[in-house]
Amino acid sequence: MSSEQDYFAVGPDPLDLLFAYTLATDLSQGAVVCMVGTVRRQTAGRSVSHLEYEAYTPMALEVFKQIATAIRERWPATGKIVIHHRTGKLALGEASVLVAVGHPHRAAAFDGCEYAIDALKSDAPIWKKEHWADGESDWVVAGSVGAKPE
């Protein structure tokens, strides 16, 4: 399945929802579902000052491609897929990740988009360091106290 329609990116620039949407939509899509993850004020009750993301970019992009392939195997009519993850320092409220999936039918667009973010969170070589208001900071370990499923 050609995937040159897709757009994958990992980098420090702020995410652009409109750009992603415009990319993900085309005349054969009936629905585009976008999910944007943002820096929350609190995680597990501890107030956050800011976050820091680090990525092994070449492999993250490779994982994004594999996620797109898997989505198209399950939902063959899926159109364009956009996966964009930010790196570097992020303030409260800023968008850290954006996933957009186009499909002729909305149910599959929802499923594909949710699949993409779940797979990214489990496999993409990207790490989040939480800096809390009390000055402490640590790398988030999924499943540990500091990282409620987001």
Partner: protein, 81 residues
């Protein structure tokens, strides 16, 4: 053989560097490299059971033997998104 090891996040901080070039005997596996580094920086131990390995941008099992010029990445628990 020569292998470049890429370290990220807690590994980088524990080991103090983001890349290490190691001279290793033929057939050394990813798991053995992890053990080798953990001997030098015991703080790496806490990840040893859950670290994952990537060779040339692909996930590989711990027992995968490395070859000259490989780029191995030790992947502590990820937290993207």
């Amino acid at each position: 053989m020569k292998v470049s090891i890429k370290l990220f996040a807690s590994y980088r901080e524990a080991y103090g560097r983001d890349e290490v070039i190691l001279e290793l005997p033929q057939g050394t596996t990813c798991a053995q490299v992890q053990a080798h580094l953990a001997r030098e920086s015991p703080q790496l131990d806490r990840w040893s059971k859950i670290v994952r390995f990537g060779v040339n941008c692909q996930f590989v099992p711990p027992q995968t033997a490395l070859v000259d010029g490989d780029e191995l990445v030790l992947i502590p628990p990820v937290s993207g998104g």
